[in-house]
């Protein structure tokens, strides 16, 4: 590479690094926390999760008992909160033993509040209020990480930061990689002054976390822009489909809602190797006349691609799957790569360490720049 190009790339690396620096530091710290947030929350709230899993593994529950537990919980909640409207049910998966029911409740002023209730998947009994999840801190961190509390503008801003970070990583690779061959791998020149020591560590950390950083930046951009676009596509397609179908349904016949267990049963018959993640009751994005099911299939990589299924309110057993285009499937696969939730605790530990090293990279890069800038 000619010295002219090296200088250009170095300048690009420096400026993209400086622009993204503080954001990458925030994203790396919050991201490292979010990787293990679920485990920390479960441990902090001391929900007797593991004990119950050992006593009655979810895998041992057959369709009938799973269906019963959902229906018992549905009935119990309706008895306790007759005025509430069920919005969604997050069904127990392999790593959790409780269903989460989301209810919309109206207070005296007519304002609607969303409340979560947890029930045991084995029995359908409501879990005591004192054991309710309090995810306020995790939710705060998640908001900061995902949109900097700026909603859609924050998401778009982070998409730009992710793209610049990607450019910074690649330009760093192009500029420094030829020079690393002249150094012994892992050599830090401790005998030199601190800027050289810091520079050597910057290169070492950059090298160690390079592939991770590129993947995180790519998947982060996919999750921001790609997720927004895929959400728009799904919502539009769902609305088109459900509005066409709803023309055929007399609204007067569609007011009675079925129990979640019945939908689960119909789903289990048709999709043997899949599990429902969330069941949305009518009134959500799919419209007033349909249930919406988001499910996970099993299989190589397909486990990360959601199944989007609707069923009409008057005939919940008639399931109809929405075919997702390839680009949405690619966006879906980028989620586990970004979240690090695909391989148990070893991957989580690696993600935390690599994530924090990205933050250290931005700090060391800024220090190196400041030293050079103020030395002149």
């Amino acid at each position: 590479m000619s010295p002219k190009w090296t200088k250009r790339l170095l300048s690009l690396h420096r400026w993209t690094g400086l622009i993204t620096g503080i954001n990458i530091l925030i994203l790396s710290i919050t991201g490292a926390y979010l990787v293990v947030a679920e485990d920390i929350d479960a441990w902090r709230e001391a929900i007797p999760q593991n004990e119950s899993i050992e006593e009655s593994p979810l895998t041992a529950l057959n369709v009938e008992s799973y269906t019963n537990s959902l229906n018992i919980a549905y009935r119990t909640l309706l008895e306790h909160y007759p005025e509430a409207r069920l919005q969604r049910v997050r069904m127990a998966q392999q790593d959790s033993i409780q269903h989460e029911f989301g209810l919309l409740q109206t207070d005296e002023l007519g304002t609607e509040h969303f409340e979560r209730y947890y029930v045991e998947a084995s029995s359908g009994q409501l879990i005591d209020d004192t054991h309710m999840h309090d995810h306020s801190f995790t939710h705060w961190v998640l908001e900061l990480h995902a949109n900097l509390f700026l909603g859609i503008f924050g998401i778009l801003f982070l998409a730009i930061i992710g793209s610049l970070f990607l450019i910074s990583c690649i330009s760093g690779l192009l500029v420094y990689f030829p020079y690393t061959f002249k150094l012994e791998l892992g050599r830090v020149r401790w005998e030199k002054r601190w800027p050289i020591i810091l520079g050597d560590w910057h290169k070492l950390l950059g090298l160690s976390s390079l592939v991770f950083n590129i993947l995180i930046a790519l998947s982060g951009v996919a999750l921001t822009i790609g997720f927004l676009l895929s959400q728009m596509w799904v919502l539009q397609t769902l609305q088109e489909r459900t509005s066409q179908q709803s023309l055929e349904i007399p609204l007067s016949q569609t007011r009675s809602l079925t129990k979640p267990g019945n939908i689960y049963q119909a789903f289990s018959k048709e999709f043997e190797h899949a599990s429902i993640e969330t069941l949305y009751y009518p009134g959500g994005p799919q419209g007033e006349n349909h249930y919406l099911i988001l499910a996970n299939a099993s299989g190589l990589f397909t486990e990360f691609i959601p199944l989007v299924i609707t069923s009409p309110i008057h005939s919940p057993q008639e399931l109809s799957q929405l075919q997702l285009p390839l680009w949405i499937q690619a966006v879906a696969i980028s989620a586990p790569i970004h979240f690090g939730n695909f391989g148990g605790w070893p991957i989580k530990i690696l993600y935390v360490l690599l994530g924090l090293s990205s933050g250290l990279l931005s700090c060391s890069g800024a220090l190196l720049y400041a030293r050079k800038r103020f030395r002149k």
Partner: protein, 57 residues
């Protein structure tokens, strides 16, 4: 640019480490159980340069 007196290395170990990390990630993504552990082991090789930096000094 770092000026060093060390002779130029012939084998770019960095490429191998990056390849191992990528293979580990794909393995952990695709499989379960043992594949996860193997995959994370391969991904952990990314820290080899850092470990070596401590060993040097």
């Amino acid at each position: 640019m770092p000026s060093t007196t060390k002779k130029k290395r012939s084998r770019p170990l960095e490429w191998t480490l990056m390849l191992l990390f990528t293979l580990g990630l794909v393995l952990a993504l695709a499989g379960d159980g043992l594949a996860d552990y193997l995959g994370s082991l391969l991904m952990a090789t990314a820290f080899y340069p850092v470990i070596r930096a401590f060993r040097y000094n």
